[in-house]
Symmetry: C2
Subunit: 340 residues, 2 copies
């Protein structure tokens, strides 16, 4: 585990412009309050539960931020429509939320994105613009925003953080006795939002950790530097958790809320996904993408600090929640994980 | 649709020894209150929602009856242990519930049951006895019961009906505005229990239908005869919905509660399962077995009486709930449904 440097420029009691309760109310009619399910865990000293956002509308927590952003648009912004660069779940979620509200959406995708992801955005009613690659996609997105579309950033935007944070809010409401929460980290939308919501609801008695692939540890590096760091190389195969950098706002929040960041490798993450997509005693198989199992993989592979487990027993287990953040695997990858 | 003859020997206000609220309280700590999700439906005049028991512990509503039966055992009965004949979800659920309570369980299975089903019962801690076939399994089960084990019938037992009926109770609580409910029918545990619970909660303003494969229409035939009818031939491939006959108690209840029975064919049922295991706009793929999609298939294939849809529009849709009753498909069958 990487410790978070004690150098946050703002305490977690700041960020007052972010209001999770207001966001929860704004999106309540469109969003599923996902169940918190007991997950397989071989350590009897841990009572492990998963917040099943793989069951969320559009297959990921991303629908929360998308709905919240769309609901906050002014009438003038609604006329202009929205744009985002995405190769995955944010694009699909934004397309869906925009269509529900009668707002035009353009999703800019790298041309080598999975065909099923591109098709999903089109099927949800968005205009899809294909770019040469991820960097070109950002350029095209910026141009469309300059021409009038409202840019809905996948993580570095308060409306996105606020929506994603309703995941943490729901965990605190459903299980106020929780002692440790581990949150999947990509660009930092879910981790910033949910960790801040958990701090506000439960204070400092809950330990909160992020988990990101060691092959794209942009939050770990960003926290160490105190600002976004562009990764020189991305070596993970875990799609959806590998933006070139974490967001500035996300790092500022996480610096004040997180106790540390776990960095499992790909083998650990894929093994955890494999476990969730197969049934075993006490666990019913579900459809989860590798990225969605990142936080779970950190617990499964014994990354929790041993100090937290000292003295805990099967009769008095440590109460740990993890986010299962997405359920849109590549179909062929899912089948391999189910059957191999 | 087959109408139910107006010849019920008891009205639905009878059956007072069955108490769904007591059962719900008894099993609350072990059972998941499953979500009621909006399902894909091409008819804009229908607001269709599924009670997702595929997400239930052990992958089917069967866990409810199993827990309820185990909780109701006397201390002396707990000592004797339980036995059931099952080739599928009831066996796994009973094994699981018994183990939770420290009660010994024997599951008698036909030796040609799916290897993964047999393995699942063993993995949950049950002793598995293999019989020559389904009929021999019933003989072996009866012998073990005569020797002392408490027989927990998969459907024809009040404790089973009471537990299964908490599905209907939860539908009524979560969506009291529901107008039509369609329930999957095998031996009649889920349909008798849930229809009776729905009648008690919502009265006669809700229309309630069963749905069973036309190749094993034992409830339709049992309702017509007013008693269990042993089917001469079972021609469906939809495992889990093809007992040789429906239960006597189940038929007595359903005669007083159901408005009719739909009998989709296998092609319709498999097509409905295929739709649920694949994502589409507004729907996130889930793991569902063919039997679990039987009620849904009846709605998808336009079996609802047209009179119920008269005058309904997208702005004022008919509110229909269906049970998605199980999520334990054969792994190879699931993969074929996901990818073909």
């Amino acid at each position: 585990m990487s410790e978070v440097p004690a150098s946050a420029s703002q305490p977690w009691t700041a960020f007052e412009e972010i209001d999770f309760h207001a966001a929860a109310q704004r999106i309540a009619s469109q969003i599923l309050r996902t169940p918190l399910l007991r997950l397989p865990c071989d350590d009897p000293r841990i009572d492990l539960r998963g917040k099943m956002e793989n069951l969320q509308v559009t297959g990921a927590f991303k629908a929360r931020g998308a709905c919240n952003n769309i609901a906050k648009l002014s009438p003038e912004e609604r006329q202009r429509g929205v744009v985002a660069s995405s190769s995955g779940n944010h694009g699909r979620a934004l397309a869906w939320a925009a269509k529900q509200a009668g707002v035009a959406a353009t999703i800019v995708m790298p041309k080598d994105a999975y065909p099923n992801k591109i098709e999903a955005c089109r099927a949800e009613g968005a205009e899809v613009v294909l770019a040469e690659d991820r960097f070109d996609a950002d350029v095209v997105t910026a141009r469309l925003a300059a021409e009038g579309r409202v840019l809905i950033h996948p993580y570095d935007r308060d409306g996105t953080i606020e929506g994603a944070g309703t995941v943490g809010l729901e965990i605190a409401q459903a299980w106020p006795e929780v002692e440790v929460v581990v949150i999947c980290v990509g660009g930092g939308g879910l981790s910033a939002g949910s960790s801040l919501a958990l701090r506000r609801e439960l204070g400092t008695r809950v330990r909160i950790f992020g988990a990101e692939p060691i092959g794209s540890a942009s939050m770990r590096d960003g926290l160490a530097a105190g600002k976004p760091v562009v990764l020189e190389e991305i070596t993970t195969q875990v799609q959806g958790l590998c933006p070139p950098q974490s967001g500035a706002r996300n790092i500022a929040i996480c610096a004040s809320t997180l106790d540390g960041v776990f960095t499992p490798d790909d083998a650990i993450i894929f093994a955890a996904q494999r476990r969730l997509v197969r049934s075993e005693p006490g666990w019913q198989a579900q459809i989860v993408e590798p990225a969605g199992a990142c936080a779970y993989s950190a617990v499964l592979s014994d990354m929790l600090p041993q100090s937290l487990l000292a003295g805990r027993t099967a009769q008095d287990p440590l109460r740990v929640a993890v986010t299962i953040s997405g359920g849109n695997p590549d179909p062929a990858q899912l089948v391999a994980a189910q059957l191999d």
